[in-house]
Amino acid sequence: MLSYVGRRVLQSVPLLIGVSIIGFALMHLAPGGPLAVYTLNPTITNQDIERIRVVLGLDQPVHIQYLKWASGMATGNWGFTFFGGRPVLGVILERMSATFLLMGSALSLAILIGCTIGVLGAIRRYSVFDMMATSGAMVALSFPTFWFGLMAIYFFAIKLGWLPSGGMYELGEEDNAVDLMRHLVLPVMVLALVITAIWSRYTRSAFLEVMHQDYMRTAKAKGMRAPARLLRHALPNALKPLIALLGIELPALFSGALVTETIFGWPGMGRLFVDALNMKEYPILMGMIMFTALFVIVGNLVADVLIALLDPRVRL
């Protein structure tokens, strides 16, 4: 198992290098190059730009630039932002905690509810509950996230005034957990709604498939009662495809958070990305691309290891 993880980590190195080269190339091919943002500023002269170019090392050959940047990445020096000159890694980590709080709450809530709905739907297929769950999921999936976000803000923040419409804290309440929870409710609700819809569908079909397997009939013929059959026999088997899906979908879920974070002004990675894009903050964008790639790799690795732990047939 350990050697498997080791090999997988080693295998991911070329992948990361590939991603970084593509990302680096894209930034350089972008219209105007990395310094495009300065050309828009009338107070900066051409000489200034030339000076910045030299200072930032952009006059050197591309491969030297890349190697310098890459060695910096490897040693934890992710560069500094154009505006404010703050360390990129610090900025990303700061935003990450906010995103993890939002995503983590939404995801746990959604998987809990979604899986329950899915399992109940699979057990009582074509029942009224199943029909309602199915059509509910379809509705949730067919409206865009921002619409739900705006509706939530309109009703709960503006009309009813129960909850704040955006942000993470009221000013001066940075350490108040209750205030944080109040701010968390709406974005988590909106984000969880869509994930719940997706995961109830996944769970339902995973369970339906498992429940028609021969070993489920064997379990029934042994006299096992429904809860034992469900928990001990169906669940581990149904979990396998779901874990694999989670490994693949996790990064996609993060990009889903992007819209939600933007609407609710949540200071997370999604908003950081949107802001950096608008301001052509290339160091941050590059850092985030690398961060996402790393996240995808780790997510898949964890999913594969979990599946291997669950299924003895998977040889590592």
């Binding site: 397997q213 070993y215 009939r217 013929a221 006299g223 009662r225 299924d311 003895p312 047939r313």
Partner: protein, 327 residues
């Protein structure tokens, strides 16, 4: 054998499926008795309803779509149809067990062999996990698995087909059931392994006195294992009797045709095999008379119009035919 009391009796068992414009009767009034310590072979071709019958007895059919009805399924003095689902679950795997055709897929791939055999022991006998494991080791030894200490820690994919079927038998016999239903237990196995499994079933039956309902399409397996036979055709039993008499002188033309169409290993190579012309009628489109009439070489006008019912013919034999052979 005659004197032994019936442990399981089905009376007018019917299984239907709702289809557009009616009900398709796949099992149509099957009655039989299974006596203590005997093996009753239920033989039939695909579509005869033999597997549905076996699943119906344990109430393992999913309903809907299946609709199960009977005048009674008596097991040790109780009518299984009247039991709650909970009471039925208490019986399954305890008094009434089943093994299936596909040993490859009938075991949970993610659970060790040991845990899968422990389960019914803990569930029905209330044993602690430690005591159950000891019983499991003993059971594995009894079904002929060498090195049970290692087998309990293995997963199904690490065992061969024959070994998996032995494990299925261990699970089914764990709580010493009085009835074992074996649905094509050797069909997926090689012939040398089939011989092992049939010998094992016979030995365990002698030891435990379990009554076995053996469902198969293979008349040779019946001849080797069963005491009595019931031949099914198109959802009904057409003939039943002691195995020796029925194979020696079949009464129903269908039984006779089946027996004659088996290719046998004989020194002189025979000419053409006697075949039964035509195909089994679809369950939704059964004729008014005898379902076999269209394929029968002895059919008369009566056969097309009136459905024959099982009539006693002496010697413990019954046949549903207007023109029985050797009669």
């Amino acid at each position: 054998m005659e004197a032994a009391p019936a442990v399981l009796a089905a009376r007018n068992l019917r299984v239907g499926f709702r289809i557009p414009g009616g009900v398709m009767q796949a099992v149509d009034g099957v009655s039989f008795e299974l006596r203590r310590g005997e093996t009753l072979g239920l033989v039939g071709e695909s579509g005869s309803g033999k597997t549905l019958t076996s699943l119906a007895l344990l109430r393992l059919l999913e309903s809907p779509p299946a609709e199960l009805s009977a005048d009674g399924i008596d097991f040790e003095g109780r009518d299984l149809l009247g039991l709650s689902e909970g009471a039925m679950a208490d019986l399954r795997g305890a008094g009434l067990s089943m093994i299936f055709q596909e040993p490859m897929t009938s075991l949970n791939p993610l659970m060790t062999i040991g845990r899968q055999i422990d389960e019914p022991l803990v569930r029905h006998l209330g044993l602690s996990k430690r005591v159950a494991r000891e019983r499991t080791l003993d059971l594995l030894r009894r079904v002929g698995i060498a090195g049970p200490e290692m087998a309990v820690r293995q997963y199904p994919h690490q065992l061969s087909g024959g070994m998996r079927q032995r494990v299925m038998i261990a699970i089914a016999l764990a709580c010493r059931p009085s009835v074992l239903i074996a649905d094509e237990p050797t069909t997926a196995l090689d012939v040398t392994v089939q011989a092992q499994i049939l010998a094992l079933l016979r030995a365990l039956q002698e030891e435990m006195g379990t009554a076995i309902l053996l469902i198969t399409h293979d008349l040779a397996v019946i001849a080797e294992t069963a005491h009595r036979v019931a031949v099914m055709y198109a959802g009904r039993i057409v003939e039943t009797g002691p195995v020796a008499a029925l194979f020696e002188a079949p009464l129903h033309p269908y039984t006779e045709g089946l027996l004659r169409s088996i290719p046998r290993i004989t020194r002189e190579r025979g000419g053409d095999l006697p075949e039964i012309p035509g195909v089994v009628p679809a369950p939704g489109a059964l004729p008014a008379g005898c379902a076999f009439a269209a394929r029968c070489g002895f059919a008369v006008a009566e056969c097309q119009e009136l459905r024959p019912v099982l009539e006693p013919m002496g010697g413990g034999r019954e046949v549903a035919c207007w023109r029985p052979r050797h009669g």
